[in-house]
């Protein structure tokens, strides 16, 4: 086997389900999710970390999956756009984007949805400034952002209506898996 092609078994909890695949160390998390696990909802727009389309939640926090190696996050928990719906119903953020025409081509949308989901979990009643800052790291070429800002506010409203008080989030590293480390 030539140098650098060794395969590493990577196990993630993706959207609540344990998923595993053996991949080279250089496999980007974005490609791992899309091509090794078949979760194509996470999109790849630039592969240098600027556009934010590939943003997923890693242990609950938004990160660029194109700037993360799958092997690095072996044992951790990942939420993708496919996992945002709650009990089969669209989440407040998904509803907000739909109601406010917060998407056009939809390519950047998964990144915005994941980013906004984590943001509203931590800040359920944000100001205009906070919403702007929260989504300012994601590029959209279609919408001009106005409806995206509106959608995040609307999602906050829906979240408040449907949940009353925000619940503490249920994310966290799965200790047993995460601590395994260094298996490569």
């Amino acid at each position: 086997m030539s140098e650098g092609t060794a395969r590493h078994v990577v196990t993630l909890v993706v959207n609540g389900v344990v998923r595993e695949a053996a991949v080279p160390a250089r496999r980007l998390l974005s490609d791992f999710l899309r091509h090794d696990l078949g979760l194509t909802g996470t999109h790849v727009g630039c592969e240098h970390g600027v556009c934010g389309a590939c943003t997923v939640l890693l242990d609950g926090e938004p990160v660029r999956s194109c700037l993360t190696f799958a092997v690095t996050v072996d044992g951790h928990e990942v939420t993708t756009v496919e996992g945002l719906a709650e009990d089969g119903e669209p989440s407040p953020v998904q509803r907000g984007f739909t109601e406010c025409h917060g998407l056009q081509c939809g390519f950047c949308t998964p990144g915005f949805l994941c980013t906004a989901t984590a943001f509203l979990r931590d800040n359920p009643a944000p100001t205009d400034e906070e919403v702007l800052e929260a989504v300012a790291g994601n590029l959209c070429r279609c919408t001009g952002y106005q409806n995206i800002l509106k959608a995040v506010h609307r999602a906050a409203e829906i979240q408040a209506e449907t949940r009353g008080r925000p619940e503490p989030h249920g994310y966290g590293t799965l200790g047993g898996l995460a601590d395994r480390g260094g298996r490569a």
């Binding site: 030539s2 092609t5 080279p24 250089r26 496999r27 899309r34 091509h35 078949g38 979760l39 194509t40 909802g41 996470t42 999109h43 790849v44 727009g45 630039c46 592969e47 240098h48 600027v50 556009c51 389309a53 993708t80 756009v81 496919e82 945002l84 719906a85 669209p90 998904q94 984007f97 739909t98 109601e99 025409h101 998407l103 056009q104 081509c105 939809g106 390519f107 950047c108 949308t109 998964p110 949805l113 702007l132 800052e133 989504v135 300012a136 790291g137 994601n138 590029l139 959209c140 070429r141 279609c142 919408t143 001009g144 952002y145 106005q146 409806n147 995206i148 800002l149």
Partner: protein
């Protein structure tokens, strides 16, 4: 409940799948397909001496390596010149893989196919191409001097040269009118390169079915029907054996109307050659250096005008940089030169353009397609006229407007569709009145004075445009109502995020009187509809929308005919509401469209309960007539086409208030107002969305985005780090107002809306910055550093 949905802000039907990750974009398809990657030229101009692929052959997972020499038949010929034009005397296109000479950084030289993209890139990195350097030609003015040539057989690097001249009503030429005018101004304007830059790059995925001898191609394209014809021609396949499907497309903005891209024929060819599925997904770096750019022009203006600011003569000479090749012809400079006149009637007009080759990425339409440059030219001109005369800028515009009673108004030019440029309708004075009210034009001087008292600099700007939309030749629609009462609509035209599934469903639901939930729409799939042109030029709603409406009307007429028979009523007394045909005023006398669909298709075999009602012993049919009447066809379906005599002309006016930092020269847009007239609105929510997106791209073009080439033809900012597309923090809130002047040209009275937002933004921002700073802005985009330079120049 009502089925009148036309004109309502109906929520998008695409969104349910797109917000849950269930969209299907090109790279989501074909798991396990082989991956293609390309060795692209690192040089702007060079002769290929040798290609050594031997080192790549050791890469595990390598499947195939192809160079130009491997290409058979028509594949080895240059790519098609899609839009020939008599003025394009020296049109040149690239080979799918470079033959002998590369003419821009990024031109594909070698195609590699491997088990996955990582391995394909590994192989690419090991392929050695030996080049002999040729002198790169960069910069349109240097190129126009013709000292060094991009193509040896194109003297002076001039691909096309075209002059259009419209004399004044009293027969003067532009030169005469300008010379005779009381006032004359002469100046130069510059617009830099930008690009569409959709978030999803291009991509192609092909499957060859050896048993069937057929090919299915998925492409992230704006025209699947034409890609299909191009693939069939290039691969020598019978057209019926090729299917092309545009899946969900992650934005296009023009770049994906060009076809066939090299990859669009190479990938299907490789799939057939290898008997394996092959996919190519363009990455961002490839998109920067091997797709297309737009905008770059140098304009020289001579204008003569009277004391009221009326333009008596206008002469514009344009140097248009079209890059290394001209696959899309000279559409962009044609549009610039013909749409330059905007909402104005000009005494005499002469426009001349030279379309010039440079060793840079080719130039093809980007949203607005030459209009942003045109509007920049005209509006900068009127601002200068106003400044010269000491008049309000809106007053000068009003003095030149075409009046509402002057439509249809013939500008005397030939438009991009080869047809006369005749405006169908519009109300420019009313637009301007609405805009001034929306932005607070008349009270701005007070606001400016108050800001100045606080040490702040603010300025206001304005820009007007007219946009020819809905160009021909045609689009079609097919509508079928099945026996379950569902309505299946298809059109060959593609979508790239505009919400066609929603607006076309609104049209069908309204025309047929059915709930929108029962309507499904398919676009851009040649299996469903084979005849189409494509999505560009703000034409989808106008062209396919009207075609679908006409097809629905055919189906409705047939449904009423069959229902009238069944209800023993006069078809003229029938209405359709909520999918049920009933006699007006007598709701009990009714029949569901589902049943009408059953009756429309007499059957022999009962495969389900509905079908049983249409079989030959069901007693439903008259014994006096054949089951299918003469002149009728089975089924409740219809197909129709819309082919307009010429384009319909939308219009709009924008205004902005900007603030410039006296110290840092940062430019901030405080307010942005849009008055927009695209005729009747199908879905105001979607139209607003189009405007927002267009303005954001316009802000990019005005303040942030440019493609920077060095003298070697290297693109210096081929990444999102340095090509500065605006984030949410850079785009102002956009205030909109709509004027609805219906188009008399089409049944729905609509005009296109897709490109509008982007068109006047550079002109508006330039106008506002100029107002804030008291300097002359003649080049866009403008950065803080540029503004600082202008300040220093003014201070000298």
């Amino acid at each position: 409940m009502t089925t009148k949905l036309f004109g309502e802000p109906v929520q998008r039907r695409e969104d349910a799948r797109l917000v849950t990750g269930q969209g299907r974009y090109l790279d989501d398809l074909g798991p396990g397909a082989l991956a293609a990657a390309f060795v692209r030229s690192p040089h702007a101009h060079a002769r290929i001496r040798d290609i050594d692929v031997s080192a790549a052959l050791d890469v595990e997972g390598l499947v195939a390596v192809y160079t130009w020499e491997d290409l058979p038949g028509a594949l080895a010929e240059p790519l098609p010149l899609l839009i020939p034009h008599p003025a394009l005397t020296h049109g040149r296109t690239a080979y799918p893989l470079a033959k002998d000479i590369v003419r821009h950084v990024g031109e594909p030289v070698v195609m590699v196919v491997a088990e996955d993209r990582y391995l394909a890139e590994d192989a690419c990195a090991l392929i050695e191409v030996e080049y002999e350097f040729l002198k790169p030609v960069v910069g349109v003015e240097e190129a126009a001097q013709g000292v060094h040539l991009v193509h040896e057989d194109v003297p002076g690097n001039v691909g096309a040269h075209m002059v259009q001249e419209v004399p004044s009503r009293d027969g003067r030429s532009a030169a005469e009118a300008i010379d005779a005018a009381p006032h004359l101004l002469e100046f130069r304007l510059d617009i830099e390169r930008s690009a569409c830059m959709p978030l999803e790059g291009k991509g192609v995925y092909a499957r060859w079915d050896a048993d069937d001898g057929s090919l299915r191609v998925y492409s992230s394209t704006q025209t699947s029907t034409s890609v299909r014809m191009a693939v069939a021609a290039k691969l020598g396949l019978p057209l019926p054996k090729v299917e092309v499907i545009a899946p969900d497309v992650g934005g296009g903005f023009g770049v994906k109307i060009v076809h066939p891209w090299p990859e669009e024929i190479l990938v299907p060819w490789a799939a057939r050659t290898l008997g394996r599925e092959v996919k190519w997904t363009e990455d961002r770096r490839e998109h920067f250096v091997s797709s297309a750019h737009e905008r770059a022009q140098v304009q020289h203006v001579r204008v003569g005008f009277d004391d009221d600011g009326r333009v008596l003569g206008l002469d514009v000479t344009i140097l248009h940089d079209h890059g290394a090749y001209t696959p899309y012809g000279i559409i962009v400079p044609i549009i610039t030169s013909t749409q330059l006149l905007g909402p104005y009637k000009i005494g005499a007009y002469r426009v001349e353009f030279s379309s010039i080759y440079t060793n840079t990425v080719q130039v093809t339409p980007y949203r607005g397609a030459g209009r942003p440059q045109a509007v920049f030219c005209m509006e900068r001109t009127l601002d200068r006229v106003a400044a010269y005369l000491g008049k309000d800028r809106t007053e000068v515009r009003a003095a030149n407007f075409i009046r509402p009673d002057e439509f249809p108004y013939d500008q005397g030019l030939i438009f991009q569709d080869g047809r006369p440029l005749i405006y169908d309708s519009g109300n420019y004075p009313e637009s301007l009145r609405m805009l001034k009210e929306l932005i607070g034009w008349d009270s701005f001087p007070d606001m400016k004075a108050r800001a100045a008292a606080e040490g702040r600099r603010i300025g206001i700007g304005v820009g007007c445009y007219v946009e020819g939309t809905g160009v021909g030749p045609y689009e079609g629609g097919h509508v079928q109502i099945t026996s379950d009462g569902r309505v299946h609509v298809s059109t060959g035209l593609t979508s790239q995020g505009q919400g066609h599934e929603t607006v076309f469903a609104q049209i069908a639901a309204t025309e047929l009187g059915v709930p929108i939930e029962r309507v499904s729409v398919v676009t851009g799939d040649t299996r469903r509809f084979g005849y189409a042109v494509g999505t560009f030029a703000s034409r989808a709603a106008v062209m396919s929308g009207n075609a679908i409406a006409l097809a629905c009307r055919k189906v409705r007429e047939k449904a009423l005919r069959i229902a009238a028979d069944a209800l023993e009523a006069d078809p003229r007394d029938l209405e359709i509401t909520d999918g049920i045909v009933h006699v007006a005023g007598t709701p009990s006398a009714s029949i569901p469209l589902a049943t009408v669909a059953v009756l429309s298709n007499p059957l022999r075999y009962a495969f389900d309960e509905e079908a049983k009602r249409a079989t030959q012993f069901s007693g439903a049919a008259s014994m006096d007539r054949p089951p299918v009447d003469e002149g009728e066809e089975p089924g409740l379906e219809g197909r129709d086409y819309y082919s307009p005599i010429r384009s319909t002309f939308a219009s709009g006016m924008h205004a902005a208030i900007v603030e410039t930092d006296p110290e840092t020269a940062e430019i901030r847009i405080l307010r942005y107002a849009v008055v927009h007239d695209c005729g009747k609105l199908i879905n105001p929510m979607i139209v607003e969305g189009q405007i927002h997106g267009g303005v954001a791209q316009g802000v990019g073009g005005a303040l942030y985005e440019k493609m920077v080439y060095d003298e070697h033809g290297q693109l210096l900012n081929a990444s999102f780090m340095d090509f500065l597309m605006p984030y949410a923090t850079e785009v102002p809130r956009i205030e909109t107002a709509h004027l609805e002047t219906p188009s008399p040209l089409n049944p729905l009275g609509i005009k296109g809306a897709g490109e509008a937002g982007v068109i006047p933004v550079s002109a508006v921002i330039a106008s506002a910055v100029e107002d804030a700073e008291g300097i002359t802005v003649d080049r866009m985009p403008i950065s803080p550093s540029d503004l600082h330079t202008l300040r220093l120049r003014l201070a000298q």
